[in-house]
Point group: C2
Chain length 717, copies 2
Amino acid sequence: ATGADNDLYINQAIVFIEDAIQYRSINHRVDSKSLWLYRWYYSRTCQWILSLTITIILALAFVEKPSSLTITSDVRYRLPAWNPPCGLTESIELLCFLVFVVDVSVKSYLIGWEEFWKNKWLVAYILTLIVSLADWIVSLSFFCTENVRIRRILRPFFLLQNSSMMKKTLKSINSTLPEMASVVLLLAVHLSLFTMFAMLLFARTKDGQQDKEWVGYFRNLPDSLTSLLVLLTTANNPDVMIPAYSQNRAYSLFFILFTVLGNLFLMNLLTAIIYNQFRGYLLKSVQSSLFRRRLGIRAAFEVLSSLKETPPNAQQSYVSVGALLQVLQKVEMDSRCKQAIMRSLKMCSCDQLSAAQFQKLFEELDKDSIKQHPPSPEYQSRFMQKMQFAFGHPYFGYLGNVVALANIISICVVLVMDADKQPSERDDFFLGAINCFFILYYLLEMLLKILAMGLKRYLSYPSNRFDGLLTVILLVLEIATFAVYGFPHPGWRPEFMGLLSLWDMVRLVNMLIVFRFLRIIPNMKFMALVVTTLLDLVKNLRAFAGILVVVFYAFAITGIMLFQGAVVPMGNIRRSCFSFFLIYFCFVLFQSSFYIKKVVVLSFQEKCDFMALSGHFQAEVIYCLLYLLSVNLICRWAKIYFVVWWLISSVIWVNLFVALLLENFIHKWDRRCHREPLSDIEYQRTVELMFRDVLEEPTEEELMEKLHQHPHLQLCR
Amino acid sequence: ATGADNDLYINQAIVFIEDAIQYRSINHRVDSKSLWLYRWYYSRTCQWILSLTITIILALAFVEKPSSLTITSDVRYRLPAWNPPCGLTESIELLCFLVFVVDVSVKSYLIGWEEFWKNKWLVAYILTLIVSLADWIVSLSFFCTENVRIRRILRPFFLLQNSSMMKKTLKSINSTLPEMASVVLLLAVHLSLFTMFAMLLFARTKDGQQDKEWVGYFRNLPDSLTSLLVLLTTANNPDVMIPAYSQNRAYSLFFILFTVLGNLFLMNLLTAIIYNQFRGYLLKSVQSSLFRRRLGIRAAFEVLSSLKETPPNAQQSYVSVGALLQVLQKVEMDSRCKQAIMRSLKMCSCDQLSAAQFQKLFEELDKDSIKQHPPSPEYQSRFMQKMQFAFGHPYFGYLGNVVALANIISICVVLVMDADKQPSERDDFFLGAINCFFILYYLLEMLLKILAMGLKRYLSYPSNRFDGLLTVILLVLEIATFAVYGFPHPGWRPEFMGLLSLWDMVRLVNMLIVFRFLRIIPNMKFMALVVTTLLDLVKNLRAFAGILVVVFYAFAITGIMLFQGAVVPMGNIRRSCFSFFLIYFCFVLFQSSFYIKKVVVLSFQEKCDFMALSGHFQAEVIYCLLYLLSVNLICRWAKIYFVVWWLISSVIWVNLFVALLLENFIHKWDRRCHREPLSDIEYQRTVELMFRDVLEEPTEEELMEKLHQHPHLQLCR
């Protein structure tokens, strides 16, 4: 009933609307101080600091002790990596932990004690912090000499818990696990039955000539299992059956049967199952986001309707326009949306807003932001008008594409001609001359387009921005080349000079021209569809990529810990086995392993060549492994480690990716058939908008029921 | 108005109903003689002769000249293949051609001259026959010495044109081609842009140390294109970037970008597009089958209603029950269906049938054939009843599964223990004893089950038939072993004797036991689902497999013709390069190529190692190719040939397969959620039944419109 109460209600409304905009849950404390803390916590600065902290703690692994990140990976040339003194990375780590402690305390306080215990993520967060701090203390008390550092494996958790999208995705993956496990079990049964069958089929015989297959691949149970597992990845496909096939062609039937059943049926069944489970995933997630938004708006309405300035109304609650305007001014939101809401608020001449009207006002948030390009300048002279017509016409753009194609082809021709020439024999006059010509054309094209469209309209198209930027860079590079080497003339020769030689510069210019060719894409209908699908996919994929980073990081650190000592006896070339950089976490070792393999390991390799698992990403890992296998002792453990790795990164993740791609593409394709996009309006597509026509609006009852369950908000009625 | 007319109508009705049952088109001649010819042509004997002819003409390639099908593929041991004298295979071929000529004449006559020109398949059939016969004459006039035999490439066409399902599938694939072509084009653009980029990036430098990447993979345009194409198949994944990576880690970004874009996005996009195009394929095909069935039934109704014995009725046409009974007795159809229709005809006491009633009668055809198992025998004695209860109980079945598992485990243990022993050291007593024990148990189980269920009921379950058959085979093998070697005793040793040694027999017995373990599958819910999906898939896949056979056959023959002379200069080991057996059409050469490769080709191999394309099926082809590449002259042609082969067999076909699997599985999964199958009734699932709930019944107007368009049938009204 007081002004303080009114201020509180206004503040609550502000926070609820901000929650709605950001699709956040509204289940947090709603007293004045908490609201201040809440807005502070979700302010850009705070969230930015938190993200930075997470990045720093994850990046620490690149400089910490077992790492050796250098530019070249060639052991013969590279300098030893920088080894930070004990305490340096540890103190940075401590700072990060302190930020996390603040983060978890604020979060726990804001959602309240009772809710805290229900939130498993928060509990896990606190536990992770405690374990990490304990491990940190142990580490320091050993003066950084201990090898097992549990806190490093736990680090990716901080990334995971900070993203609601990733948590949602993880939940979704989790619900797919039972079905995936069934297929993996089926795969295991398939593998073991065929292993037994193979061992019976290719048994040792008295005739030494006859049991080559046994010697090579089915000597004992682990060998047989390994041979067939690799056959499942198709890595050893014809090799494994050569000895048997050489004896009798009919033996190939065994291998065909195994491959067709395992690889064609069961592996693809995994795709089918994962796709089937994920079909509704995007829709469900967007649906729950919509619910959160509607709930936030409704909550704002409810608190605003309790403002005492509104006349009490027995039937329905109303919100005064003045109060809403007051709230809107303080809410942080997209200025375009804010203006649109203000405008429609003024247009509606009423003084009071019902719940439905209130909700309707904020539907502006869900709308496509339609981008209107600024108009072209209007010229007075007829000549200029003709110029404008000519160079503003799409055909002029097509001409540009044709020229770009000609440029590409000419570069191609020069490349083919120069392919086998020595650098000293090469005459760069031709390449220099065509570069010069084409860059001049590009410059002219840009200027004429600006003339025709006006600078603002020109810049409002992303394709033009891309074009213009590349043209400017090309021009700068070309001018730099001329300044240093003079204009091209016959016999123009590359000279090495400073950082970039002329040859390097010309190459750089030409690479940029290759990129410039990509501007053709939007002009081709199907390609445009494919490219927009891919871009959409990248947006939706962020959560998946995050989870992948988490898994890779954990795997890499585990790998470092498991195989750290393993390489010492080989010649002390590298102390650690693994360093990492996400997918390429194995690259540090890569070169050294490659050389060693060539010299020492070749005999072992054949024994453990199971590791030539086919997935493309882990090819590097395999090289690492071959190195590891050279130290034959750890062969078994490495096998298990890498089979798990293969299952997760190649089988499961790739299938998830395919499922997501199918979902996105099919949805997009269906939409394309339904309506043709308007030519001049560009929609800013988001996942939410893609699904708008199939989303269900939450009902009034659902919203109110949820609001009454709010742990901190006591609604008057 | 005469009896002859009536007979004609009856005959027409019979043929139309048979058309409906077989989902055939009814657009054929309908006069008396043609009907007789039609029934004769579609009689089992005729169709069987036609299929046999197709099989024979396709199989001819295995004995024709360039083939060399022998048991062992090892050139050192095998005898020269049988070379049929000139004129033998040719005269068989001529016989086949004559059958085809009869086939095409009958078909053309039956559908009528006007329709014939509209039917592209028939025209193509005749053209193929003419070309084949001409080629055959040329061949004979050269006394079988000419190498180019076009008619061999055309042979799979006879397979294609004989199956309506395959023609339908081909049409469906054809409609997917534009979208596939778009993605393949995108892939080509991706490849060529990156190739240019790579050539600019990894150019030759003055420093010999720095341009290892250039030397190895990007020496000129074809080399670069090849390197990146192989990277797309992930076959050379880490190797291709090692030299560059060794220089600077950042170069790996180029390869990562290329792989992620090409392999992860574009390749999977192909899957998505194909799946999207194929989503409706099965449904559409089943829908058109349904239409054909309804049309056939309707046509039968219309002709029967013109019988003069029926009283003319102005409003509606009717069919007398007597006429229908007359027709039914002559129609060839499933006896169960016929009886059911007869029964319901008798139950409906009316004398006249309207169109709707007539249609309804034949809905019996669409129904699941519910299989009722015969009842168990009823025993008088209480002891027997108890026995029956105990051994008829599902738990007894579970016990059997547990015993089978125990058997598998014991075999496994023996295998692991005996793994490294010499055959002469091995004591087979233990294996013999457990085999003996378990086989006795299986025999007992079978007898007790027969006792409990009665022989008829026992045999009515497919799982029991599988079980029983294996048990009997095991018993026979075991008795044979005992007869020859006596009962197992410590020190029991395998001896070689005749065709099968004891050791071979024991192995055979154990392999069968591994198979017997599969009876567990129906007991596990998810596995049962997966297995039934796979079985369904196999049914639906026949058309796809047929098309694959056609493609493979054509490819194989083309390969033989292209590369036939290529191998002669290498040392005259094999005159022909290719022989074939569908997928493994390259196996004949396989061994020889393998040995030659080891000795001679290793240096060339590295140059043309692009051929290590990753697909699992073509691995053999690659070995062939490595052999071919040894004769460096044909390297370019072989490249093109094998890239096309990879695109068709690995990229497109595998994706089609995945699409079909997704379609089947998702449909099945949805059904599973809808209703639980009854426990004791086994449905005979067909594609038609799977989709029944979503199929649309054709309307009366559609049917009548189609009937009036019939080229040969003049309806009275």
